[in-house]
Symmetry: C2
Subunit: 336 residues, 2 copies
């Protein structure tokens, strides 16, 4: 059963287990520092799909099938799925998962999707609603670039603050309390708008949302950053991470000592030409369902606040001169 | 507390109340048969917004503010909000609600949004997670047409099977069991693809999803259609409704006797030039949060299965020759 603490924050009293998890990524991600943590690395960017959108669906299928296999589960064991992605109408998820017959609950939180799906899946299980709940999301560099910025063929120069959309998918399957990692508590964030209009500076847009949600989670659960091994943000990149430190410095909280960012972990920023780091739903999804959950399962990490951030960016709205609203959701993961 | 029954279906044992609800619509909808049930009817299609996308956000704000007022609630009384819409990146919701500080959980189920948001809000309240949960969605004719089909200025002839996207928003606020209407049970549907490729025939695409979800809800709760005053679909229109009858006829279930469709209720199909009927998230949202919930609150309806259907239509995917995956979610509403 869940205990509502305060604004947005919920304690999961049964501490559901993440029974199985898998990450599927593209070639570039498979050449980065976390290459040994991924379950599947594609040979080429298409995965055999006839369009980049279909390739993204195939990434989700790969992550889901691997997570089912690792958990010794079949499709019929799944009670609910929570899915979403960055493509218009979330087609990476709807076309990727349409051949599976389990109930589908579509969500949209941009790059906060991995935390949002995991939070909802864990809440269902914590309250005895179903047996196994899937949380899944993805992004694809080529599909995202042409939708949000320019077609790749245009060959535009990327700005220093820009981030590289990760080609990747992550899938976590939540079940009743058994083995670690466990979902202990979570905070759903509110919309935060820092006034950023630049679609090539997502980190700056999202830093405020990360600050608000992490601060709320700490306050509402009565914890300080000392309780955690790491506070891991989704995809702030180098630029957004520095802004996050500035925001917490105003509160005299030295978050830098505890902070990691999936966007700077997944690539070698000196060698892989990704400017400020990785981004996209698939960034935090593949780092969570690859590296982080493995570390927790093995007891190498003991207490982590996973905070995925989403820029609710729309080209239509930025072309109309609007700023970018952002959101962050946080999930506290432990090994006991 | 919630009781998981079977695939997708959940009984809400506390039977949460829909404490307050409001519907805001455009001028055309305000001239239709349900005009007396709406809380707000816009004078013109823009509502004063500088773009149609911003107008849609204003619709949501109107519906939310009216629902808060009718429930004697303030913004700070809201524990969680569930929101989504048809615009790319769900900007009707994110830009519409960004000035509100309550937690925001974004969803995407296309025109099934009203059922999906209401189901999730009711589940949170049924399990004691928060005090008041907002379920809200919207659509706007002009914004939807240019995104999904053609800009209005193009002046294309509308096909006989086409539907008219409703300019409207609906907001329901769920709280602990008190006065009717109550949320008794619900079914989350699975993705269903009937093989339809025509973006001007949404009703046909969605009929299969409605059939699957209604059938599952009846089977999993052990009810027949005789238990209900009405089984109300979201926006199948005339074409989709006939297909729904055909599908149920194969099971010897005369659903036509109990069936209503928000898409054929909201307009006068003989007078208002909408071809097969209304569609869009705002269709079922404004009919639910206007007419249906009023009837339940007054005891004129006693037991209704509200089944909103969504075509997970993407112009990108249909241009790639893909068929349209669909989804339907059902919420059972009662007066006692």
């Amino acid at each position: 059963m869940s205990l509502y603490l305060s604004k947005g924050t919920i304690e999961l009293q049964s501490a559901p287990s993440i029974k199985s998890f898998a990450a599927a990524v593209g070639k570039k991600e498979g050449e980065g520092p976390l290459k040994n943590s991924f379950d599947y690395i594609a040979d080429d960017i298409t995965l055999g799909g006839k369009s980049f959108e279909k390739s993204e669906g195939l990434l989700q299928q790969n992550a889901l099938r691997l997570a089912l296999k690792k958990g010794e589960l079949s499709e019929s064991d799944i009670s609910f799925s929570f899915a979403g992605d960055l493509l218009n109408q979330c087609t990476g998820s709807s076309y990727g998962l349409r051949e599976f017959s389990f109930p589908y609950i579509g969500i949209y939180g941009a790059c906060s999707n991995m935390a949002e799906t995991l939070a909802l899946a864990a809440l269902f299980i914590d309250n005895g609603i179903g047996t196994n709940a899937v949380a899944i999301t993805s992004s694809h560099f080529c599909a995202a670039e042409r939708q949000y910025r320019f077609p790749l063929n245009y060959g535009g120069v990327r700005t220093a603050t820009s981030q590289w959309t990760v080609t990747g998918a992550g899938c976590a399957i939540v079940a009743a309390h058994d083995k670690p990692p466990y979902v202990k508590s979570l905070t759903f964030g509110s919309i935060t708008d820092m006034g950023v209009k630049d679609a090539n500076n997502m980190g700056a847009a999202m830093a405020g949302a990360a600050y608000e949600t992490i601060s709320a989670h700490l306050a509402n659960t009565g914890q300080s950053i000392d309780s955690f091994d790491y506070i891991i943000t989704g995809d702030l990149g180098e630029v957004g991470s520095k802004l996050l430190y500035d925001l917490f410095n105003r509160d005299n909280i030295p978050i830098k000592e505890k902070h990691k960012d999936c966007g700077t972990m997944i690539y070698d920023l000196n060698q892989q030409n990704v400017n400020s780091g990785g981004s996209g739903c698939g960034c935090s999804a593949s780092v969570l369902c690859g590296y982080i959950l493995q570390e927790l399962a093995q007891g190498k990490m003991k207490n982590v606040l996973f905070t995925a951030t989403g820029a609710l960016l729309s080209p239509t709205m930025t072309h109309q001169g609007e700023t970018i609203p952002c959101i962050a959701h946080a999930v506290q993961l432990t090994d006991n």
